[in-house]
Symmetry: D2
Subunit: 354 residues, 4 copies
Amino acid sequence: MVSFESDYICGAHPAVLKRLAETNYDNQHGYGTDVYCERAKEKIRKAIRESGGDGIDPEKLQVEFLVGGTQTNATVISSMLTDYEGVVAADTGHINSHESGAVEFTGHKILALPGENGKLRGDDLEALMEEFYGDENREHMVFPGMVYISHPTEYGTLYTLDELTQISGICRRYGMRLFVDGARLGYGLMSYNTDVTLEDIARLADVFYIGGTKVGAMFGEAVVFTKGNRPAHFMTSVKKRGALLAKGWLLGVQFDALFTDGLYFKLGRHAIDMAERLKKIFAQRGFRFWIDSDTNQQFVILENGFMKKLGEKIVSGFWSKYDEDYTVVRFVTGWSTTEADLDALEAALDDCLG
Amino acid sequence: MVSFESDYICGAHPAVLKRLAETNYDNQHGYGTDVYCERAKEKIRKAIRESGGDGIDPEKLQVEFLVGGTQTNATVISSMLTDYEGVVAADTGHINSHESGAVEFTGHKILALPGENGKLRGDDLEALMEEFYGDENREHMVFPGMVYISHPTEYGTLYTLDELTQISGICRRYGMRLFVDGARLGYGLMSYNTDVTLEDIARLADVFYIGGTKVGAMFGEAVVFTKGNRPAHFMTSVKKRGALLAKGWLLGVQFDALFTDGLYFKLGRHAIDMAERLKKIFAQRGFRFWIDSDTNQQFVILENGFMKKLGEKIVSGFWSKYDEDYTVVRFVTGWSTTEADLDALEAALDDCLG
Amino acid sequence: MVSFESDYICGAHPAVLKRLAETNYDNQHGYGTDVYCERAKEKIRKAIRESGGDGIDPEKLQVEFLVGGTQTNATVISSMLTDYEGVVAADTGHINSHESGAVEFTGHKILALPGENGKLRGDDLEALMEEFYGDENREHMVFPGMVYISHPTEYGTLYTLDELTQISGICRRYGMRLFVDGARLGYGLMSYNTDVTLEDIARLADVFYIGGTKVGAMFGEAVVFTKGNRPAHFMTSVKKRGALLAKGWLLGVQFDALFTDGLYFKLGRHAIDMAERLKKIFAQRGFRFWIDSDTNQQFVILENGFMKKLGEKIVSGFWSKYDEDYTVVRFVTGWSTTEADLDALEAALDDCLG
Amino acid sequence: MVSFESDYICGAHPAVLKRLAETNYDNQHGYGTDVYCERAKEKIRKAIRESGGDGIDPEKLQVEFLVGGTQTNATVISSMLTDYEGVVAADTGHINSHESGAVEFTGHKILALPGENGKLRGDDLEALMEEFYGDENREHMVFPGMVYISHPTEYGTLYTLDELTQISGICRRYGMRLFVDGARLGYGLMSYNTDVTLEDIARLADVFYIGGTKVGAMFGEAVVFTKGNRPAHFMTSVKKRGALLAKGWLLGVQFDALFTDGLYFKLGRHAIDMAERLKKIFAQRGFRFWIDSDTNQQFVILENGFMKKLGEKIVSGFWSKYDEDYTVVRFVTGWSTTEADLDALEAALDDCLG
């Protein structure tokens, strides 16, 4: 059945699959100490360099590969925080809402601030920090040591360059690290409505990751420490969290393929193109959107009976109850979405609309 | 200097100190396996039984002693929660705001709800639970396994019996444990404006503690598991958290003294009497209160210059900024507060008021 | 270069790769809630049932898939242990020696006993338990709540059925769970010298895993809870540890392929055949073995100069220093080892021997 | 009944108790920010300085107070270790054997080495480090980041200055911190047979603690960071572990009393005098000792029937089974042991010997 349930409903882009097959008998060393990982790291560094100005020191970009998103978030956060520190996040941030307490499992608190359409507001962050350092009892509190934002957010929204710059500036001033969760970074960077480049992310964040699982890879996330600030013996910390892949080259091979000939960005743009057509399909038929998203996640308000009927033809995702009669339904495009999928959606909608 | 800074500015009530001295050479067994702990446990069970109706099974009351509040909270919560569970609390709850992340250090998330004057609203809790069990993605979330409330709250406010009954009922319905932080329980039970008895707490909560540190003891909190539900090998879990006092009888001796001839309740009432006079002293002079508190913590709004001047004569506690010109200042009475202290406060106020 | 470095030097068996490619565009649901996982679980239950007598209740076999070995060990151990418990293991056990403290990271102690050729001796375990329950101070100690053994061990050795039965019996008697790390289970079951079947493992252990990473899969381990004893909300515990694979069906697809037409066992037997020839190759040339292994890991004692020379033609793994002049070198066969690889080894040895 | 069960069978030395009573109504600030803590810290720094040569920088001695031993061990170790590190200890070390896994609860592994009479051998430590840094797989292992020794050990034995110097040198060479558990430090320093001074400990260790609970205080341990190396925001880390005492001045008052007029050392010497007489009492009657201890813990081998008879008159502690007929029994003297106690022991022995 045609599915807009998520951007991880298919295996891997054919170019990725092909490289996995080609390298299948390569007799590699394990744990990421192989030639493909090296090659992929170099290509990622190059992509960052070429995406923007000269605000970064390419020598200080350190790339590491992990398997999945929650694993990456918990590993990065807990290996960078000091004992007395916690991480600030929007209450809707993935780490705060949908990771089963993975950050807390490592012994660190999430300091949640109310988000706005999924985004952490710089002014709220500034206010938190002023309040914290103005509080005489702060030694009894958790020190804000890191700020976590996702770009795009869990609601498909994007930070502007100004917003990122403000948040980054606050982090610098207060000695906090800025961590950008880029599970869907490819879709964010290739939005029609963004002024943020990959180089901006690398320049403004202390660490971020380039999501592979949702953007063409079978699995895998590429963490980039941007200031030569990778924690010492990071491999050991990764292993300690059960996150070290024995056949580490599988990650290198995939990111090597994704960063060859700009494939990662092409896949991102493709999904955005598909999302824009999807938006039009719904808009033309008078459907309302729950949120204004410029990326590959779209949230449409459907009447419950209609939702049920549509569900017999098209797979989508329950997001939240809107009211007694309506539901917010998530439609997600991805690298694997085709025009034919959208044709099918269009037909199904018209069919249900009768 | 006369101090209303907190209710832990003095050592111990003379009766407690006397018992500590009398038993100093008793050659006791360590770790709480002594006769004083047994005696104190029995007296606490008796006090619970005698404070109310027959809603509890006294055979199922299990008492354990710990040294301090944060330690007690983290130990009780983490030893009762299952791996996939977290604890619900008001955002202003002590565990969420002023314990440096002690609960998270044990690997569990606090699910914070906005409180109202320090209290968790039953309706908010109900809504959270409905939302949680209505969410198809809940396996990716932290399961609410316990509810934490403090009585009195960090703002000196009290739950009514109806409110406690509602919260307890929600917990039962959803299979959650109810934990009442009673760091200042004595002051809450002896408020002029409460319909809640010790027996109510024992009946409605699954576990609670009777605070000693702030109510006459040198240190010590008495945890009561109310349904024969003390975790197996609790002593080992306590030790694992570095919370097992070698000379455990020190705790037993103190609670034995506090629960002899109703001393604990007398101390509670004394502090309330002092608080009521303190309220009058401020009210008569036209000062505004930030919150309406019926217990021993009072929050007065002082003009910054006035606060500074008063601070030269009387010790109180900074609570929070009210606005540019005013500050919320906490004045706390306790078992050790005297009429002379209040006379001094009165004189100091009049002096500063000119 | 021909490599005997480990059994995870290649991607996946062609049959596995083929299935991954075939199912690449299947639009699956995530997190293991797909049809391939269901199918693979059923095949694994069937393989267990068919491998032995009727000592197990097939209805109680619960299968779950995880990505890697350390992750599996830490997740299973920490989600099954109670707060006050630790896990007993041979000092050479993988969890104790080469997992960077992953078990301790979850808050639990490993109670290490000296192993014998990688194996935990039943008599040592019995003695430990007798000592523990005879110790009046045991409430200050970590309670042995689980026994961890690997089969085959890290040294390639195997438990006999008698030995497993003894250990399992001790566990039952003392209320401990028995966990068998089967990272190389396929190679153990297909050894020429074993009387242990898959059904024996399922019958005697409370939980074990069937290693995929080292036996034909690209990655993946199949955990089997044998007594209907899977921890409640296990998916949430897996997520909490960052171990939940978004595209969970990738694991199902692979194990489906491995348990179709007995492929898993055929791959196991192939590696054993290769290992037996490898042993002969070394033995015939007078080399000494460090340990007597009946599985796919062989430990040969090489003179340092010779080791260096051989290393120019054949990749193997440093294991440990034997003495000043000799080194223990590990040669591992696997599902991907070919007769040609062994021919190359033979030629290289003869060449180096001059 | 006369008791030699442990050195924590009595409350506090009268001088300590007196100071607690005198300061009972002092209206102190909480959490150790009081004048008594300051005073006690200064006295401890002075005692260290005056106990030896000029090998230490007194400006860099940072003193902090905690409540109990296990709490101190877990707090110091976990706040000083980095993510990928563990702590080396003798297998008989208190943290490894009798703290219910408190160190592991903080996420760190104990790397246990077989001890000799309770002591960690320098040569074993050196061998461990050589092996670790010679192991090509060490990134998969726990890095030794700290060495824990107790002085006196759990068996009453003492390190010589040479032994301490060797261990300290190894730590420096390998970048490990040396932590000395001084739960009974006063008894060790005042042994008739030691060449180790308090200044030696401060010079050779990176952190150690001066035990109060067992040497005259009601409770309390004074941690000394010796090189200006107290972890940042240590108070917050202490709070995070539930180890911050609200009435922190109670600790300052006690250590102030103990380090006035050398009381701590006098109490230490008194217990040693008592232990030496106790040794003689047993030796003169032909009893065998299980271990040769120069401090206040003595281990005597008693025939089981005799042990039972003696137990009716004198309290001592079961240590371990010696063989079928004999038991190792621990007799401990302390600051509260009197000549009358020893007279009673002598009489009881003679009585039982018939």
